[in-house]
């Protein structure tokens, strides 16, 4: 077949290659951070800023996990439920084994997250259920099951040692959450540079090509879901640590995570976008929330502002690349 695409000049391409589709999100992030500086000069004092990062950590981790799933061409709507379940289960476990070591409980949560992810992955790949539905169902199941088990509210409290990770700081100044966040981020970036990452994106881009190139597409996708589940579990540990027992710790986080990833210029439908941009998206979102708090925007109006900005940002991103995107029939399902 002859080339249907117009050739594009080199410099333009290098730029996109370097920044991926994430340019708008970096711009947005900068704007927001500047705005924060203007609103509240002390925002950049070390502890304040670290506190901000610490607050953003769970969402960033979720975004990293969600990115893996989205870039492979799927969805994970169950992460919010996993976070809620994680926090409640942890409390419940402490309710029964008050003196369990925090590491044990944490590992239990991570394992649980992995198992949920595994279920998501297997149902989606082996049973051919669209991941949107799989994870939507999983969301209902998790929320239902956890509360059915705990009779609505957890019976235990989260002890300090468990909460340290989400709440306290190393060497008195560096929040553990920030460290975890950095670790996860680094791991995600490393992962995407490895064979797994590359094959994952290829799978999201063209499943048949990947399969015919020897990629075990099912295994790769399942692994993505598992990692997303693990990320959610980590987020649960941080959230639980940060704010203690709550029956709605993860409410709405799935949408926040997806929004963050898309803000990062990652195309729903897979095959496009960088994990760094996705995490930048998460930071932007958190920065936005903080800005709205500091600006003292009426509590009720916050969501309106949020909605407008998200649409605008993504719209901008889309506009930048619309030419290209129209040519490669994006599987994102958005008519252009």
């Amino acid at each position: 077949m002859t080339t249907t695409t117009a050739p594009t000049p080199a410099p333009y391409k290098r730029l996109t290659a370097a920044l991926g589709t994430g340019i708008p999100v970096y711009a947005l992030l900068v704007v927001l951070l500047v705005a924060l500086a203007v609103t509240d000069p002390s925002f950049y004092e070390l502890d304040r800023f670290l506190a901000f990062v610490k607050r953003a950590a769970p969402l960033v981790i979720l975004a990293a996990g969600q990115y893996l799933v989205i870039v492979s061409g799927e969805f994970d709507l169950s992460v919010g439920a996993i976070v809620t379940a994680g926090v409640v289960v942890a409390a419940e476990l402490y309710g029964s084994f008050a003196d369990a070591h925090w590491l044990v409980i944490s590992l239990a949560l991570v394992l649980g997250g992995a198992i949920v992810g595994l279920a998501n992955g297997l149902i989606t790949t082996a049973l051919r259920v669209p991941s949107f539905i799989t994870t939507l169902g999983m969301m209902l199941i998790l929320e239902g099951a956890v509360f059915y088990w705990t009779g609505g509210s957890p019976k235990g409290v989260l002890p300090e040692d468990f909460r340290a990770l989400g709440r306290n700081s190393a060497f008195g100044w560096l929040p553990w959450a920030v460290l975890v966040c950095l670790a996860v981020g680094a791991f995600a970036v490393w992962l995407m540079r490895r064979d797994f990452g590359r094959t994952l994106i290829a799978t999201g881009d063209s499943e048949r090509t990947a399969a015919l190139s020897g990629v075990r597409v099912h295994r790769v996708r399942v692994l993505a879901f598992v990692l997303s589940g693990v990320a959610a579990a980590l987020a649960a540990i941080l959230v639980g640590g940060f704010s203690g027992v709550s029956a709605q710790a993860g409410r709405g986080l799935e949408f926040e995570a997806i929004t963050a990833v898309v803000l990062g210029g990652v195309v729903l439908g897979g095959g496009r976008g960088s994990v760094i941009a996705a995490m930048a998206g998460a930071f932007s979102l958190q920065a936005l929330f903080t800005l709205l708090n500091l600006q003292g925007v009426s509590g009720a109006l916050e969501s309106t502002v949020q909605g407008v900005i998200v649409i605008a940002a993504v719209g901008l991103g889309a506009a930048n690349w619309s030419r290209i995107r129209r040519r490669s029939h994006s599987s994102g399902g958005t008519p252009s």
Binding site: M1, T2, T3, A6, L212
Partner: protein
């Protein structure tokens, strides 16, 4: 080369005294600052078949899309019957009587033939879509084309490629077109199907349609067209009466140089290389007991009609649609691959016919595509491949502006194919299967790929080539196996004639559904 704005008007060049049906003048178009059409002009007379040739990137498709209203030209005019048009949406072009047959089918798999044919202009009664009328009319049109095998109620997903092609044509005819643009209509067709199409095209022309025929197959261009227009690098090179020129001249005009040798010299010495792949009694739903030996250093060609099982054979050898029975040995080891992975491990590679859908991850970089196999199936080459990437791309003579970081979706068909080949070479295979290696690849790249394939054979790879283009098959193969109805109808020596091949191919064969 000088850009000639309007085609030279001289009697022997434009047949038919009639004033041109369609005239395009000084059409220019740029994408993201890159000029891809420079003041191109072209005219078309009712009843003529006007061939449009040129290498990929020459601007054929862009010109066509301007005509179709998919792209809005930066400058230039389009006149139909002397009335100027400026199309901004395909709908307007349609309304004006311009029909386009895209090489990527614009068909909806999950809709019926009739629904596809009338998509965008469904007949209505009392505001309701008139299915009956739609299906009746579709039936008529199909009948007119002598295509009786298709019911208007069939779902497109159930049709073979050739038949989808027909549906595309019917679709174009359904809106009474006066100008019909065909972009490589025969690319997906086997030779005999192509011939049927040629007859069809002639009949359409006789009906007074003006037909703009884009193709890489020069032979059919000379069979069909009255005039030939050559584009190169977005410029109009020449428009000549077909009678007044010959293949070499056209090729020279297209490539800008002589392509004396189409096909690299056949290897002679290493005819008897040891058997790299042996198959005995290979069977599955589509294949009925195939015996096959592929020798190192030898290029085996496979001929056959659509649905004869050529593609099925390649896919079975590659484990993509495995054999259900039969014995297979690869490199002396007994192995009947049940998945591409196993095949790859055993050193088998398959260059599929659907390059965009099965060969490439279009939005990924050249690098990621080239390394995909070695990354997916890490072997000893895993380490070396990444380092040797540059040499690899050099070796396949890839021309990519953006280097290894360029997204492959922006490469020409030829270069995309080179990336696919590089992807497989990176895994250092022993057996290389090609399904339509040069489909939709322009003359220049074609030659390069042919040479490359021959070199690979020389280096001791066992190569199998499936091609609907008989000249290519004959030119490349050291021996030719002809398939028909799922089994091997016979074997022919190098240089067999097209007639011999077609005789075997069309022998007892029954046209089944497409295997691709």
């Amino acid at each position: 080369m000088p850009a000639t704005p309007a085609p030279p008007e001289s009697p022997q060049e434009s047949p038919g005294e009639a004033a041109p049906l369609l005239t395009m003048r000084n059409v220019s178009k740029s994408f993201l600052g890159v000029r891809v059409l420079h003041d191109v002009g072209l005219d078309l007379v009712a009843g003529e078949v006007h061939a449009l040739v040129g290498e990929n990137g020459a601007g054929k498709s862009t010109l066509m899309k301007v005509l179709a209203g998919e792209h809005v030209p930066d400058s230039g005019t389009i006149e139909l019957d002397g009335t100027a048009h400026a199309f901004t949406h395909p709908k307007q072009a349609q309304a004006a009587g311009i029909g386009i047959i895209h090489q990527e089918f614009a068909l909806l798999e999950h809709r019926t033939v009739a629904e596809n044919v009338f998509l965008g202009r469904e007949p209505t009664r009392y505001g309701m879509v008139d299915r009956r009328a739609m299906e009746r009319r579709t039936g008529q049109l199909l009948a007119e084309l002598g295509e009786t095998g298709i019911s208007p109620r069939t779902y497109v997903r159930e049709l073979s490629v050739a038949r989808r092609q027909t549906v595309e044509i019917v679709k174009a005819l359904a809106s009474d077109v006066r100008v019909l643009v065909m972009d490589e209509p025969t690319a997906p067709l086997a030779d005999h199907e192509a011939r049927l199409l040629h007859d069809l095209v002639r009949r359409l022309a006789d009906r007074g349609l003006g037909i703009l025929y884009i193709s890489h197959r020069l032979r059919e261009v000379f069979e069909l067209s009255g005039r030939i227009t050559v584009l190169k690098d977005g410029r109009h090179i020449t428009t000549v009466a077909t009678a007044a020129t010959d293949t070499d001249a056209i090729v020279r005009a297209m490539v800008g140089r002589d392509l004396s040798a189409y096909y690299p010299p056949r290897a002679t010495a290493d005819q008897g290389g040891e058997i790299a792949l042996a198959l005995r009694g290979g069977r599955n739903r589509r294949l009925k007991g195939i015996d096959l030996d592929l020798r190192a250093g030898e290029i085996t060609g496979i001929a056959g009609l659509q649905g004869s099982g050529r593609t099925s054979l390649a896919r079975a050898l590659f484990g993509a649609a495995p054999f259900s029975e039969g014995e297979m040995t690869v490199g002396g080891r007994k192995l009947r691959p049940r998945s591409p992975r196993e095949a790859i491990r055993a050193g088998i590679a398959l260059v599929t016919e659907d390059r965009k859908g099965e060969g490439l991850a279009l939005r990924q970089s050249v690098r990621d595509n080239a390394l995909l196999v070695t990354r997916a199936v890490p072997g000893q080459q895993r380490a070396t491949a990444a380092r040797a990437l540059a040499d690899l791309l050099e070796r396949v003579r890839l021309q990519a502006r953006g280097g290894p970081d360029q997204q492959v979706q922006f490469l020409s068909g030829g270069n995309q194919q080179k990336v696919v080949i590089a992807k497989w070479l990176a895994a250092a295979p022993k057996v290389l299967l090609f399904d339509e290696p040069t489909r939709g690849v322009d003359v220049g790249a074609k030659a390069a790929i042919h040479t490359l394939v021959r070199d690979l054979a020389k280096e001791g790879l066992a190569v199998l080539i499936i091609s609907s283009e008989l000249p290519e098959l004959i030119g490349m193969s050291d021996r030719i196996l002809v398939m028909s109805d799922g089994h091997l109808a016979g074997e022919l020596p190098a240089g067999a004639s097209e007639e011999d091949i077609m005789r075997l191919a069309t022998g007892p064969a029954v046209e089944g559904s497409d295997a691709a």
